[in-house]
Symmetry: C2
């Protein structure tokens, strides 16, 4: 994708932006504030900018007069960049001018790290769990009337150097007819063993040469959301992706209430059916979107936390929530997907990620395997920020893990207008420090409907740094703006008024929301600190932090440090991988090495029960501030705040 | 079982007989003829004998007067031996006296060779495919809250030296509840791999110690009859056995008509359901009889010919009956028995014997493996005499096999009153050479209902040797007895008149029956001769003949040579193993070595298509006589017949 230079005047800031992207996103990336509350539909008309040079398309709206348009004014949210460009942000008042140089909080957007397919291929690791081989068989004669299966095995041995072969009953049933209908030219699907000395299982046969059509499905079974991807096993590309709420939510928001439900008579059947229904819905959607033939799907890999995994596999979760918190199994065998109720052809094996403990499940193992940390030297802190906060520390030689009950704030849970990272969610935000007017960037550039995790982090960090909320998350009641108000005893900030929102009311961020976020980040942070201390390490020892979570694609790492979710560390050491569970499921579809290595990784992993670690609660209480009770733990933030304090005092 | 000496006077013959067995059977074994046509129910009253010394029980009937009883007369068929005994056979006429020394055809009853369990145990081969281990687990604590499955695996590794473990999904679902309900004292079923380096699969878990209750089922899926056994995997004993007609018979008597039926729309579903229904009926019967708990059945092994196997597994048999006659597969993977429609618990794996070709199937491989010939030096001819005639020649180093279409005469098919070896079947026979009166021994000592394979062989051989039929199987029309007669143009011998038979008419043996037997034995014999010639061997090279077949428990080997079913060979070299397919299925339940060795055996086995071997038809035509066109091939029989001819001429 071509990139263009976008220069903002009078700010004197520059940023590279992708061709076709909007000016408003370029402004956000350049740390240039433009009032914009409607999310990019041109409704509020506030994001007027003047194009001084270069090409843009769009940007014209009834909010602009003929005269303005002729002068070169456009709406930034509707303007798509078509060349290098110079944009003037109108400075219409002294207040605006004063704020020109005030947005000095650094931005460090962590885009999701993508899978390096070329590297996999170079290392010879691009070996999916199911591969296809095309065979041209010698037809049988009276002199050579070996069984059909033996004929196929002979061709695989002689022509493809394939050995230790085993044929599934279902494929044996297909073979006699398929090979004759296809004139003895067929393609077979070979399911690879976990270990090299295991059997190569022939699980399907198709007429003709279909080796260029081989697909996998990867699924993350989240407590809140189920995500699925269709993966092309020839190119390694993701062809389609979709997420939907886990329908089990109707039986309870969190894992505990779902376990309680499953323990009731008939409860397991019902709650299992719900998640199977959700997964089937996701599968149907992504198959339709990717336009693949369902019969050409070769495998499905699923990852979920321990409770989600046991409920999906119909394994009684009763003992997960009772001390001493014991999961049924670490590893699960491959099972025909159809046997688990999934609407997939009978040949498709379902591979399910293993578990470490009741609270460190397959989703975390998937992230650890998918991110590569279990194969690398670098001492890594892996943080999965979902309904729970799971933490893994270590490298290729050792691993420790723990889970903390963080609550679902990062996924929109417990947030008044929280939502998952879907169309209409405010995913990025800035605020004018004088007028307190917002710049809302929404997923899909549509009217804002709510707030996803990344937006929430950036909002709270921005409000805090600009002194709109204090270190306990309470609004400054003195500020002169209608956007900050008290409704039924609860203080809140209005992100988008009803007339520009995507819902039938104002989109707001409340003090209760902020409080929930503080608790969530406090649990996460104290979990990290406690676990590091348990293994005798500190933040300075870390070579890398891997953040995983489904809370949006544009997480601002600096903002994460402002609220104290992340410890203060060189942002270049932080990698954001998005949904780590889904990444792991996808990686497991691309390289069978993950399955052969996961046993070793599990055996290297030591689980800590934070509830049994006395210092955890102390660390948690200390972390229930922005960024922390001890501001000295965040020296960069402290110095910025001190500088700003001085400046404010100076101008006062 | 105690044995007693039974002496017959005035014949001067002695035999050892089991305590409690009948005098009539002892007489048959001693080659002493007693007229007895009612099968042992004391109806005909002809088998009067006098007990000179020793103890018998029973033997008294209304057919005997008070006076006779006081003199010591008893009915032989009702008399059970209780000590060493001397029995006088009344010689009431000169005719009787003349016949005293005429029954000089040697008898050599081949009793079924039994499995030597002690030898298996001594060699360390008594390793069933599923074994049980009792575990006393350490209950989990917060310090040791490893998953339940990991806990079981740990105990298996540490306490039982079990490794390479894999847990089935169905057992994982049971584990959490079972171990807690059983206070962490449980028994697990371990399914052994085919090869040593394979996985040991945990397929079931039971509360408490159930290691002394572990059972298997062995099934022979015959075209005509399905046999089943319950086997105690602790002692190795057969606890129950039952056979029933294969209900597929309603869709055709032979494999070809069944394949034709299966090719019709919906035919496969119907014909598969029939055999599954039959097997389930047999299983139900033997489970009830053995009084085992179905949940404690650990495995089922099935063997059948190639068509029966493919119909049972729902694999299209279409190509079995069309040149070049190709089976779908040699080896089949283990499949859950429940997935094949069998009424067995979900943990039970079904192991199915592999096939060599369209006409040398799993029943033959089972016999070859079960009889031990594939592990021994001795050059062996294996003959399976069922609906088809299958032949294997070789030893532990090489094997050749072939199939000939013999027809079902030995199983009672195509015989007017033919029946399988069940209650009421005449299984042994002798005839008075003067009066032509029969001595019928029936299975169960009840009135005769028909003729099973062993009875048929003995009858035809006896009739031939006594000159009642000629070498083309045609009755001597000149003999002065009402037992030989012509009915609607067909000559026949009356074995039992209606008033003493177990059916509402006379039990007869017709010329058509004899003709069918000659065709069947001719196919068998010529198959053997042709195959021997193909590998450059002759009968004299054979160290051993193994006969397999479901045609009765008392096959007279000498009689088999008289009719030319067996070549003339030292009878001590012949072993009769009964139902070889069932034996193989049973042996596979007792020693897992069979499964690991069967692949090698298959790869060593060369299949000959007799229809492609020109000499086969010549040999067949030559064998359509009793015993053969060339009597010189049967020198012992020839010399007996020459001697008898001389004697007859002398007395004439």
């Amino acid at each position: 994708m071509a990139k263009y230079k976008v220069s903002f005047v009078p700010h004197g800031k520059e940023v590279m932006a992708e061709a076709g992207s909007t000016l408003i996103r370029a402004a956000m990336d350049a740390n240039v504030h433009i009032n914009a509350s409607c999310g990019g539909e041109g409704i509020c008309g506030k994001c007027r900018v003047m194009i001084e040079s270069g090409e843009i398309s769009g940007g014209i709206s009834e909010k602009l007069s003929r005269e303005d348009i002729d002068k070169g004014y456009r709406l930034a949210c509707l303007s798509n960049i078509g060349s290098d460009i110079v944009v003037r942000i109108p400075v219409e008042s002294e207040i605006d001018k004063a704020s020109l140089n005030r947005m000095d909080t650094p931005r460090k957007t962590a885009r999701i790290r993508t899978v390096n397919l070329d590297e996999l291929k170079d290392k010879g690791l691009f070996v999916p769990p199911v591969e296809k081989k095309y065979l041209e068989l010698t037809p049988p004669t009276v002199q050579d009337n070996a069984p059909d299966v033996s004929r196929i095995a002979r061709s695989l041995r002689n022509d493809h150097n394939e050995h230790r072969l085993e044929f599934d009953m279902s494929v044996i049933r297909k073979i006699p007819d398929v090979i004759r209908q296809a004139d003895f030219k067929v393609t077979v699907n070979i399911a690879r063993p976990v270990r090299e000395e295991g059997k190569n299982r022939i699980i399907n046969i198709e007429p003709g040469d279909t080796t260029n059509r081989n697909y996998a499905i990867a699924v993350d079974i989240g407590t809140t959301t189920v995500w699925g991807q269709v993966i092309d096993l020839v190119t390694g590309e993701v062809l389609a992706q979709y997420g939907d709420f886990n329908a089990q939510i109707s039986y309870g928001e969190d894992v505990i209430t779902r376990i309680v439900f499953a323990e009731k008579p008939g409860g397991m059947e019902k709650i299992n059916a719900k998640v199977v229904e959700t997964i089937n819905g996701v599968i149907e959607k992504i198959i339709a979107e990717s336009k693949v033939n369902p019969d050409e799907i070769s495998t499905i890999t699923l990852a979920g936390n321990t409770t989600m995994t046991q409920l999906f596999l119909k394994v009684n979760p009763r003992y997960l929530r009772r001390s001493p918190y014991v999961p049924a199994a670490a590893l699960y065998p491959p099972v025909p997907a159809a046997d688990l109720g999934l609407n997939l052809p009978e040949h498709v094996p379902a591979l399910v990620y293993p578990q470490v403990s009741s609270y460190v499940g397959g989703d975390i193992i998937a992230g650890v395997m998918g991110s590569g940390m279990a194969h690398e030297e670098a001492l890594t802190l892996y943080m999965d920020i979902g309904t729970n906060a799971e933490i893994v520390i270590g490298n290729k030689d050792w691993l420790v893990c723990a889970a903390a009950s963080a609550g679902p704030a990062f996924e929109g849970g417990g947030i008044k207008l929280g939502m998952r990272a879907a169309k209409g969610a405010i995913e990025d935000f800035s605020m004018d420090p004088i007028s307190y007017e917002p710049m809302n960037i929404t997923i899909g550039n549509v009217r804002p409907k709510g707030i996803c995790g990344s937006g929430l982090i950036t909002m709270v960090a921005t409000l805090f740094e600009m002194g709109v909320i204090d270190n306990r998350g309470k609004f400054n009641r003195e500020l002169d703006t209608s956007r900050i108000r008290e409704v039924q005893g609860v203080w809140e900030y209005v992100l988008a008024w009803k007339d520009v929102s995507g819902i039938d009311r104002d989109v707001v961020l409340t003090e209760i929301d902020i409080d929930n976020l503080i608790r969530a980040k406090g649990a996460m942070y104290s979990g990290c600190i406690t676990l590091l201390k348990e293994v005798g390490l500190g933040i300075k020892d870390l070579d890398r932090i891997i953040m995983s979570g489904g809370f949006g694609n544009h997480v601002d790492l600096e903002k994460c440090m402002v609220i104290g979710l992340l410890p203060e560390i060189d942002p270049d050491k932080v990698v954001f991988i998005g949904n780590g569970s889904l990444l792991g499921a996808r990686m497991s579809s691309l390289t069978n090495r993950i399955r052969s290595d996961v046993g070793r990784t599990l055996s290297q992993m030591t689980n800590f029960e934070l509830s049994e670690t006395p210092s955890y609660m102390e660390n948690y209480i200390a972390a229930l501030f922005l960024p922390h009770t001890d501001i000295n733990l965040f020296p960069k933030l402290k110095s910025r705040m001190d500088a700003r304090q001085k400046k404010t005092s100076g101008t006062a």
